[in-house]
Structures are given as C-alpha cells and as structure tokens.
Assembly symmetry: C2
C-alpha cells in the first residue's frame, strides 16, 4: 500500500491560522519534512511524526532539493503519510511546484493543502488591505531574495500602479527601493515592513521608499514588505495585535 504526500502550507506562524485540513494531516503524519520558518508551536501539532528539518541554513540549503524529493518518495513507498510543511502557502515563491512534479513523475499519490500566505496575511494583520477602493485595484507579489528574482518584476510594473508585496526582501530593501525610485515611483511612496506577522512579538515599521534602505532592524523575525498607497491605511485600520511603530521618516 502506497502512502500519501501532502504538500501543506503552514501559514504565517500562529497555529490557529493553519487550516483544519493542515492540522488533521499533521496529527496523522508519520513523517514531517519542514522548513526553517515553521514555528515550534506548529510542529507540536504533529504528535506522533518524525520531524525532519530540510530548510536553509545561513542562506544555503542544508539538504538539496533532490534529496527532499527522494525522502518524500521513499517514505510514501513504505506506506507512510508524509507532510511536506512549508511556511505560508506551498505554491507561493517556494519550490512546491517542483516537488509536485517530482511526486507526479514518481507516481506517488499526493495532494496540495493551501496555506495562508504571508504575502496577504502579513499586511492584513497590520491593518493594510492589499487592495482598497481608490488606492489599489490589484497587487503583485515577488521575492526579494536576489536581484535576479525581483528586478524583472520591478521593471515590468508601471510606477504606483498597484500594491507591491515583497517576501524575503529585508536584506535587499535598499536596492529594491532605489530601483523603484529610478523606475519612477515617487520617493514618498509609503512602505511598511511587517515582522513576525501573527506571532506574539510581531511589529510593523512604517516609512517611505526613500527611508527604508537606511532603517535598521535587530530581529530575526520573517518580514513582509508592502509598498504603495494602501500602507497609509495602517494608521486608521490598525489591528490590536499589531504593535505599529509609527515612524514616518
């Protein structure tokens, strides 16, 4: 009997923001392969499973992608229930697509369990709707981890036309902001950085495109950058659980 691999989104961090199906799959799992950004409180839901860390360490994958595929396939062939647990949603800026293709090619039964993406939830929890009448009719999501990832998207979008959400962009925020300003975005465009959304120590930095590069942060929390006029709503529509440091520079 073949097992099943579930590609599961863990959401932004708060265990109550997992889906009911994600919780069920974790409880039933024999093996959980998880990334770095999944908090201990979420992993604790996997009561009887072996936990295996397959994330990145200091920017490098501790285990390469092929090995992750082999681990999933081998366990499923032994009849095990495998959860591949990724922060946020498995198909947003992760390698969930590659993992689905590998399982498909190996003939392993698998399913996708979508998760709450921090691309949408992090702004929301800071009181920022990614779309809002009169301010933004749409939004775009991009990875900021490298210039090769963000430059083609940044260059493809007309200045100020939509809300831009950048994941994994804290390190490169100055370069991204400079590129946007060079492309014609107003330097006073509001910017928010939401750190640790949905987690107890969450906080939000508010500023502008021309100040975000110089701001300094002493935190290891995952961060989501939101760029656009909707950020101005963070003041009015702020959430009780988000401690908003109102620091318009």
């Amino acid at each position: 009997m073949s097992g099943l691999v579930s590609l599961v989104g863990a959401g932004p961090g708060d265990p109550e923001l997992l889906t009911v199906r994600a919780v069920n799959r974790l409880r039933e799992a024999d093996l959980v392969l998880h990334d770095a950004l999944v908090p201990a409180a979420v992993l604790a839901l996997a009561g009887r499973a072996r936990l295996f860390y397959v994330g990145k360490r200091a920017g490098r994958h501790s285990i390469d992608q092929d090995t992750i595929h082999k681990l999933m396939i081998r366990a499923a062939r032994r009849g095990e229930r495998v959860v591949r647990l990724k922060a946020g949603d498995p198909f947003v800026l992760g390698r969930g697509g590659e993992e689905a293709l590998a399982l498909e090619a190996a003939g392993i039964p698998y399913e996708i369990v979508p998760g709450i993406s921090s691309a949408i939830a992090a702004p929301a929890l800071a009181g920022i709707p990614v779309t809002h009448r009169g301010l933004a009719a749409g939004f775009a999501v991009v990875s900021g981890h490298a210039e090769s990832a963000y430059a083609p998207i940044v260059d493809a979008i007309a200045p100020g036309s939509l809300t831009l959400v950048v994941l994994m962009g804290v390190r490169t925020r100055g370069a991204i902001a400079a590129r946007l300003i060079a492309r014609g975005w107003p330097s006073h465009t509001p910017v928010a950085i939401v750190f640790g959304a949905s987690q107890p120590d969450s906080f939000t930095w508010l500023g502008r495109l021309d100040s975000v590069g110089e701001a300094t942060f002493e935190t290891e929390l995952p961060a989501v950058i939101v760029i656009g006029e909707v950020v101005s709503l963070a003041h009015a529509a702020r959430k009780p659980q988000a401690q908003i440091a109102e620091r318009y520079a």
Copy 2:
C-alpha cells in the same frame, strides 16, 4: 460590555480550508453577516448564530455597504460576537478595508482573521503554482468585474512578465484577453479557468489567450482565471481532485 467584530476569510469553499480560528469564531458567533459565495457547509459551522445574508444579487448589492457597517456596529454595541464572513480573504478585492475603517471610526473592537484566498488556492488545487523557477518569479492579482478595475492593472504590466490571476472575470474574459493581446502578450499564452476550487464539483478549463473569449461554460461556480506560462504545469502536476478538461484550442 462591548462585543467583538471578526472580519473572517472563509477560504475557497471547502470547510476544511477554513483556519482553526475562523472555525472557532463561527462556533462562538451570535451574528454572522455573510456573502453570496460562502457555501452552506461553511455556514453550518455557526451553530448558534443568526445568519444574515448581505451579499450581491444579480450584480447589485442587496444591502448597501453603510448598512453592513451599521449592522456590525449595532450588534457589537449590544455585546454580541459578530462574524463578518467573506469568501476567500477579507482584504483581497473585497471591501474589508472599508469595514475595518468603519469599525475603527466607531471605536468597536475588531480583529482580522485572514482566509485562504482563491487567487492562490484555486490555481494550486488545479496543479498550477503561481510562481515557478524559470516560468514566473512573481504574480499579480486583479478583479475582472469591470473594465475600470482591470484595465489600469493590465496596462501597467509588461507582457508575459509575471503570472496574472483574475478574480470575478468570467464575464469579461474575452475583453481582458483581447486587451492583453493588444498590449503584446502572445496569443498562445496558456490560460486556465478554475471553477469551484476545493468544492466537490470543481473543474478546470485549459486553453489560450486567443481561445478563452469563445469558450462557453454552463456553471454558476465561482471562477479564477490564471494567465501565464505556469499554466502549462497543470498537465504534469495536476491534482487528483481537479477534473482537468484538457482542451487546448
């Protein structure tokens, strides 16, 4: 004692794709104000609440936005627990931002409970990752309900630069496709329309930009349109629960 208003995302339709917090809020609710696209199986979770339909009928709001605000505020002032339940995520192309501002202005305690947005989940459940190495480094989400909503975004994005996800666009799909082709998108760009994602009668139509306008559908299921090279993965990485009608025109 003042009550609490929870702006809750109901996800794409399957009750197991609600978050744990959304289920808890529904179970504890005194009053649920819900939209048209929330299925009965989700509403059934609100065991003891009065259910109040505040969605659209035939394109027109049966109840205007101000009245929704008043209903929420009045119930909260009576000390009730109110759930404002929206399909998908409350802050994606809905009016969640306006509702948050109204609650803020009235001094009503409220919280945001993010939901699984069909903008990401519908493609995922059809085997389409919105981002994928070598195919798309980012994605944009827009409403197709009116030209005034989609045209500024469509015109602002360089052809083929990212995955374009259109919600509420089935009626206008021909006009959107024609506009994209006129802007320079290749007419053979793959297009998927995912109907009723996560629901038992879900199905996916596959075609191209130059065929999507002429396709006909006899269904009332909510639909998500995905445009871009990532759609080509729907063949290989298809999900068991998605019945994919492979109709490349």
